[in-house]
Amino acid sequence: MARVLVGVKRVIDYAVKIRVKPDKSGVVTEGVKHSMNPFDEIAVEEAVRMKEKKLAAEIIAVSCGPAQSQETLRTALAMGVDKAIHVEVTGKDLETLQPIHISKILAKLAQDEKADLVIVGKQAIDDDCNQTAQMTAALLDWPQGTFASKIEQSDGSLTIVREIDGGLETVKVKTPAVISADLRLNEPRYATLPNIMKAKKKPLKKVTPKDLGVEIKSHYDVVSVEDPPVRQAGSVLPDVDSLVAKLKEGGFV
């Protein structure tokens, strides 16, 4: 039975109205509601379902971030994950934290914990990078199935249906492998009260990137963060000819 490692990220809640900081260095996070990245919720749900189908033996959730990341891990534990690892990143390191570091951390933990499967959300809703799964697979030299909307297990291999621009692509990979969860993979469960209570007794280990041999070194710098331009009014055109003329005018044809 597989040992599954699930990566979860603490992000600003999807329903919050984002405000850019006046100094354009980023967005306001102080006092703002945070929750588990929705795609990571789907990843956790998939892992828990595997365990219920007896395809997975143990599920370990990992989160990299400040102390509050432990709340995200507690939610994962309440959904059915067996144990959690908090990779504590604070201060300057937290500002520099990028997908490449997460990938290195997940790769190291996957080896340490003898994982057969690493599942993460396809992207985080704050940076929309969509890089972690791919880089983790490359670092481990494992096959990857990204944008998964369906996963079927058979001996030593996985059949994954991927949602791509052109439609659906089915790939078969040998385990161990890395998967990134897409929206339609499943619908995450509510953390029931009994499970929230059980989660209190589940183990949560704290480590640092240094313990895992990962240095948080910046590979790129964020120059500025700005609001998108205010949407301009459109214009109603009388016929197709004027539309074509306008498009030519704007240099689009």
């Binding site: 939610t75 509510y190 029931t192 009260l193 009994p194 929230i196 183990p203």
Partner: protein, 406 residues
């Protein structure tokens, strides 16, 4: 070893963040935050979309109550060994508010089951009674109810005239109970009846009655102003025979059981009122931010801002009183006055906030297209049941004067 050092060691020895034992004035413990999220997501996803329909058609939300049971919400403070969630009253208050914010009827069904039914049976029942009357009622598949009020007495609970005659191997119940929430769907009830009218309130005992049972008939379903998805009816006992062992606690203890149960129930109803108030505030702010009048959203107008500020303040104040009552109960301290204050403040806040919500919405508040009118109707009962506002004031005054020793 000093207390400070002992607490420090306890905090460090657990491998994770240990939530503080004392309730914080600014944040809920992480477990409670998780519970709040689950309840809010459930309320938004499963209750809010159907609340108007349930109200219009007076439909008991069986499917949703079942799901709430599976989430562990129908027996929040019942120990895990009996099938409950084993959490505290603060968790119950938080859960009640979030559920009621989605649908006030679902809230009262949950509250009656938790506080008024499971409360007394769990506290005063023996092992056999708990097996029969607690465990099957913890997962949402069955609900219970609480029968104290009668046509002749509501606030005057000590004047109960439903009788229970000792028949050797059974009790014979005769009388009528009125205004019983969950009257129709419940499969058991805690009934208060007197074995000796001469002893006045000291002659009242509590009994466990399974439903349906011969000798118990249900009155018509009341056509209520609000919380219409929950059933309210009379329970008519006519020579209803129940086993001798179905007496709850000691004979003559009934009044005390009722009063203690209502203390806890008040926290539940206060939380229901908070949920209704919060839903009204949400509705008012949302509408006001979009409604343009005099060239700008009406949130820019002082009249509206004054209302919103008052609404938010009364709601927040009531919430703090309610949570304090829950925390006092959880710490095993006397919480009667606090619970009465919470219920009084929250119910009056609910009627105030829902009233102002309609005012802010103007004409739109008066029609069923917006939930404002339903919140207004739902809020009204919170000032009446589980102790009218007038009774709450008497309870507060009584305890206050005792504290002053005068």
């Amino acid at each position: 070893m000093s207390l400070a050092i002992r607490n420090l060691i306890l905090r460090k020895s657990s491998g994770c963040l240990l939530p503080s034992r004392k309730m914080s004035l600014t944040a809920l413990p992480s477990t409670h935050e998780m519970l709040r999220k689950t309840c809010r997501d459930f309320a938004e996803g499963e209750l809010k979309p159907i609340a108007a329909k349930l109200d219009r058609e007076h439909l008991f939300p069986k499917e949703q109550i079942d799901k709430m049971g599976k989430l562990g919400l129908m027996a929040i403070d019942v120990p895990e060994e009996l099938g409950g969630s084993g959490l505290d009253y603060l968790a119950y208050a938080v859960a009640m508010e979030e559920i009621s914010r989605g649908c006030a009827s679902a809230g009262v069904i949950m509250s009656v089951n938790n506080s008024l039914y499971l409360g007394p049976v769990n506290k005063f029942g023996n092992k056999k009674q708990k097996e029969q009357f607690v465990t099957p009622f913890t997962d949402g598949s069955r609900v219970g109810c609480f029968a104290l009020s009668e046509p002749g007495n509501g606030s005057d609970a000590g004047a109960a005239s439903t009788t229970s005659k000792d028949g050797g191997d059974h009790w014979l119940l005769n009388g009528t109970k009125s205004w019983i929430t969950n009257g129709y769907e419940s499969e058991a009830t805690v009934v208060f009846a007197t074995t000796d009218k001469a002893k006045k309130h000291k002659g009242i005992s509590a009994f466990l009655v399974p439903k349906p049972i011969e000798g118990l008939a249900l009155g018509k379903k009341e056509d209520k102003l609000g919380i219409r998805a929950s059933s309210t009816c009379n329970l008519v006992f006519e020579d209803c025979k129940i086993p001798k062992e179905n007496i709850l606690g000691e004979p003559g203890m009934g009044f005390k059981i009722a009063m203690m149960t209502l203390d806890a129930g008040r926290i539940g109803i206060a939380s229901q009122a908070l949920g209704i108030a919060q839903a009204s505030l949400d509705c008012a702010v949302d509408y006001a931010s979009k409604r343009i009048a005099f060239g700008a959203p009406i949130t820019k107008l002082q009249s509206i801002q004054n209302k919103l500020a008052e609404m938010a303040m009364r709601l927040e104040a009531a919430r703090l009183l309610t949570w304090r009552a829950a925390a006092l109960k959880d710490e095993g301290k006397n919480y009667t006055k606090a619970a009465a204050m919470g219920k009084l403040a929250a119910s009056e806040a609910a009627t105030y906030v829902s009233h102002q919500c309609i005012q802010i919405l103007g004409g739109m508040g008066y029609v069923s297209d917006m939930p404002a009118e339903r919140h207004y109707r739902d809020a009204r009962i919170t000032e009446i049941y589980e102790g009218t506002s007038e009774i709450q004031r008497l309870v507060i005054a009584g305890n206050l004067l005792k504290e002053y020793g005068v």
